[in-house]
Amino acid sequence: MSAPSVDFKKDAERITHDLRQRGLIQTALKKYEVQRNAKTAAYQDWQSARQTAAETKWEAINHLDKYLLEFVEKLEARGTHVHWASTAEQARDIILNIVRQKNAHSIIKSKAMTAEEIHLNDALEKAGFEVVESDLGEYIVQLRHEAPYHIVFPAMHLTRGEISELFERELGSAPTDNPEELTMIARRALRQKYITADVGITGTNFAIAETGMISITENEGNARLTAALPRTMISLLGIEKVLPRLEDLALFLPMLATAGAGQAITCYNSLYGGPRQPGESDGPEDFHVVLLDNKRTHLLADAEQRDALHCIRCGACLNVCPIYRNVGGHTYGTTYQGPIGSVITPHLRNLQTWKHLSMASSLCGACTETCPVKINLHHHLLQNRRNAIAQKPVWWEKIAFKGFAFLMNRPRLFELTKPFARLGQKLHPLIKGTRLDPARVWTKTRELPELAPESFKELWRARR
């Protein structure tokens, strides 16, 4: 396996030339943009809503110990088993143990990026359990043995034709190019799975401290079925999901939908506060909540970038990112793609191995501008660059910048470089983009800016 940065470059190059895939992404995201703009415009004051959301998350994250404990106490009081996992491995083991104890045969799962983060499906399958993803997009990428392409739209990179072929091969269905028929094929295939599954695993969008509830947002109803039918329910969540109060959802639910998918509110927003209670007729007998750290406390300790934990995983920053739009989701090689992925992956994994994602940015700031909780994303990319260099300086860059500073501070000396630069620019086309070209990395795909025939200084002198 080669280094992630090498793969990134290779894949980015490939996808930027893949006009079919880029076309698909552009069309999907154009549609998103139109819908999001319309829904944002309906707010009386979207900017103030963002500020309030940012402040609410600030409050939650900066008192995380207090709110987490409140959340856990409330949940436990109503018979929920709460587990704490410092690492991905611990979280996997906790879930495996529950599943083994229950003698489960089949597991139904609704969309959970945290489960992708800890590679839960692999672990469950290796241990001999059948896990079925129930979100349509996730189901499609699972059948393809692929990672989700986008944190909100997992199968955005596929055409209906490809999905039809996939279903034909895997499910034996008749070919069709009608998205509705394709959806119904998946609906039929999954119906029985809900009913027969022993364990349901879900993700979580928000954890409400005040009432001890998890909140799950979805459009399809698959998470609701996952939380209604199996006897055991397991919900996995990162410790940063906490919101202080129930009424905070009045702001966060619509904002998540608007920023993430251009909807006024998502179809189903469901709150779960425990297993089946006395007097209730259905729902799981056992409810387990697994709290995952997995280096989130590492990010928390970086006060400068702590606000990255405010993220509600809406995916808006991916949608507007020129890098994401051109290189696509799989190129990142991370669980979380796009600007937020580039910011947090170095914290969740390793700075030196993942710093290239922070370099791959035009710093246009579209992400920061769109983020519903106002995370300072593009500044964090810069901070990652700074931190990476401070941790592991590059000697030739140091020398180059020293030389540059030396030259720029000596106008007469700088003057002398001009004729050389002009000559160099004349000769450059002969070697442009070839191995002899010292600026090859840049000039392979771009033009060097042309030097003016006369410099400002020369013009000024001539005038006087």
């Binding site: 129930s134 698959n222 079925l225 129930l246 702001l251 259905d282 729902g283 300790a301 006060a303 400068e304």
Partner: protein, 227 residues
């Protein structure tokens, strides 16, 4: 030391260094948060003040969401509409729960009835043509129906059958989301049901080329009969 203590320890240690408040470029800014509760109402999409405006807003949302919303003067008319839908769709079996609104309406249908507020067989529910429930509130702002395991016959009734019909009284129509959450808190203070859901339109997906398809896993149809 347990993992719980370890994680809490790391959190506390991390938080010993304060973080800048959102929107401040000054790292020394004191952590004073400005917002008050009524602010949110002023940021979210506007809703008219009169009951008529609320009904119209709900109706407009329902049309956009492809839900069927019917508003009647009397309970009898709502019951008649339910019968009309059942006949037109050829329902053979329905599921519901005990309740002031559901009891009469379901009896008038004269169809085999499965109750989900008592122990029931999931396969039998899956075979029903419709799930008929009451609700906690309707939200004009978003066209949302709020159900809980207590008000709407458990967790599965409003999601497993292919058609979900909601019976509601006009007083249940609240203005916006903040009002809806305030109502839930008031009604269930200290004793929440284990499940509450905000349902907005029939189940949907856009996972294939971002093209909207209704009835992904939940109901393909959502009908709201309000009087």
């Amino acid at each position: 030391m347990s993992e719980r203590e370890k994680i809490l320890g790391r959190i506390r240690e991390a938080l010993s260094v304060p973080a800048p408040v959102p929107g401040s470029h000054d790292h020394q800014a004191p952590p004073v948060l400005q917002h008050r509760d009524d602010d949110v109402t002023r940021w979210l999409p506007a809703v008219g003040d009169t009951p008529e405006e609320r009904v119209e807003r709900f109706r407009a949302n329902a049309i956009e969401l492809r839900a069927d919303f019917h508003f009647f003067d009397t309970r009898e008319e709502a019951g008649a509409k339910l019968l009309e839908i059942a006949t037109a769709a050829g329902w053979k079996k329905v599921a519901s729960h005990r309740g002031d609104l559901t009891d009469g309406a379901c009896a008038a249908l004269g169809l085999p009835l499965l109750r989900t507020d008592e122990p029931y067989d999931v396969h039998a529910l899956e075979a029903c043509d419709a799930g008929i429930t009451e609700c906690d509130a309707l939200v004009a702002q978003t066209g949302t129906v709020i159900v809980t395991s207590r008000s709407a016959g458990g967790r599965a009734l409003s999601v497993l059958p292919p058609h979900h019909v909601v019976l509601a009284r006009r007083e249940q129509l609240v203005r916006d989301l903040p009002a809806a959450f305030a109502l839930l808190k008031e009604n269930y203070a200290g004793n929440f049901p284990s499940f509450m859901s905000l349902i907005t339109g029939p189940s949907r997906t856009g996972d294939i080329e971002r093209i909207l398809v209704l009835g992904a896993h939940g109901p393909k149809k959502l009908t709201i009969l309000c009087f």
